[in-house]
Subunit: 243 residues, 2 copies
Amino acid sequence: MTKALDSGNCWNVSWEGRADCKHCAIRKIDVLADVDIDKYEEYLKPITQYCYPKNTVIYNAGNEATDLYVVRKGLVKLEQTFEDGSMRIVRLIQKGSIVGLETFLDHKQKYEQTATTIHKTELCRIPERVFPPILKDDSHFFLAVMGQWHEQLESSNQILVEFSTGSLRQRVARVFLYLVDEANRDGLLEIKKISVQDIASLTSSTRESVSRVVAEFKRNQLLTKSSPKKLRFDEVALRKQAE
Amino acid sequence: MTKALDSGNCWNVSWEGRADCKHCAIRKIDVLADVDIDKYEEYLKPITQYCYPKNTVIYNAGNEATDLYVVRKGLVKLEQTFEDGSMRIVRLIQKGSIVGLETFLDHKQKYEQTATTIHKTELCRIPERVFPPILKDDSHFFLAVMGQWHEQLESSNQILVEFSTGSLRQRVARVFLYLVDEANRDGLLEIKKISVQDIASLTSSTRESVSRVVAEFKRNQLLTKSSPKKLRFDEVALRKQAE
DNA sequence: CGAATCTTTGAATCCTCTCAAGTCTTGTGG
DNA sequence: CCACAAGACTTGAGAGGATTCAAAGATTCG
C-alpha cells in the first residue's frame, strides 16, 4: 500500500509513514498478535512506521519513555554507558520484540539504556497512550505483554550465560551463531557484518582481543568474507569453537 | 498472630503455615501492595508461608511452573547449570520480589532456572490459580506485575554490568556492596556470610580466584570477620576497590 | 580523494585459571 | 560433647589467555 510496507528502499536516510496494522506481516508474531485490529482501529492510528539505517540511535538513556517500538526487521542493541565512557550491550532485540518496554510502566519513567540499530532496522513506534484502552478490555493482551517482558529477560540471560562465560574464543563463536541470518543446507552460515566493537561490548572484552580471535577464525578457514557486507561460516567448526 | 509471622524460629528445618496477608508487613512493598485484601480474601486462602534454611532448593529448572514465591526475608539465587556441571547465577532475588515469574505465563510453562536460598529465607507460596480472578478486575495489579518483571530485568542487568565487567577485584567488591545488610554511621558495613562458590558463580570466575581476592582484602584490613557468620567492611575502601 | 573512523598486529605485562596439595569448617553419629 | 568424614576454602607454582599501549593498515563517507 504505502512505501512503508516495502523494505527495499531504506538507504542511508530514515523514512516514516503511517502503519498499516491490518496488513502487517510481522503482527502475528508480535505483541499485537491477538488484538482485534478492526475493533481498535481508532486507537491504533497514532502508530507510525520507521526505517533506520544501521548505527542509528532510537532513544537515549535518561529520555522520558513515551513510546515503544516493535522491531519489524533488523537488529537493535540496548547498551549502558559507564563513567569512563566504555559501553556494555545488555540486550539484543530482534524481529517481533519490543524496544522500550519501560513505556508500559508508570508515567515519568525514563529509558534505562540507549537503543541503537546494529543493522538496517524497520520499526513501528507506538505511543504510550495507545495501550491503556486495549489493556482495559482485552485480557489476552496482558499475556502478550508479559510474554514480551519474558523475552527480554531471556535475551539478558543469553548475554549473561553465552556471551559472558567461557573463553573469548567460545564467546565470540556463540555471538556469530546467534547472529546467523540464513543457513544453507550444506552447513554454511551467512552472517551480516557486525562491528568488532559491538562484539567486544557484547562479550565484555576489547576490540583488540576480539579482532585477534576473528583473525584466528579466518586463518583456520572457519570464516570467510562471502560478500562486502557478509561473512560465511562453517557451522560444524563454529559449533566446536563454541564448545 | 501465628508463628508464621515471627521470623526468629527457623532453624535448620523448614516450617510452613497459612499466610496472613492482612497483617503482612512485607505486603506493602510486594506485588499485592495495591490489592484489596478483604475483597479477595477467598482467593488468597491457598497462599502458604515457608521458612527455608540456607542452601535449600525451592524448585528445579525444568519443573512445571505451578507456583510463585514472594520473598519476605532472605536472599534467593536463580542459577543455570551447564553441560559440564558448572553453574552460573543469573539473578538474585531479595525481599519483596518474586521467585518463579514464569508462573504468570501460559500453562505448562516450566521454570527456567533452579532457585535456591543463599541465606535463611521466608517466602509466601502463591499457586497460579490465585491470579486470574484478581487480574481480571483489578487494573492496578497489572502494573504491579509488570513492575516485578522490570525488577528482575534490573537484577539481571546488574549481574551483567556490575558483576561481570571489570577486574575480578572490582567485581567482588561490588558483590559485597550489593550484599550489605546494615551500614553503621561510622562507615562500617555488615554482610552476612556468603560462600566463595556463590561469589564465583556470580562473577563468572573460580573459587580459587575469588578466594585470593578475598584474602587480599583481608590482608589490607578492608575486610574483617566480625562474628562467625558475618563480615565487616570499610565502606570507603570497598568503594574504591569497586572503582 | 582525503579525513576520520575502525580494524589489525606486535610486544610486554598482568591477570586469571588450572592443577595439586594442604587446611579449615561443618554436620553427623557415637 | 567429641571425633571423624565430607565438603568447603586456601595457597602455591606454572601456564595460558586477555589487556594495554603503540603504530600501521583498511574502510567508510562526504
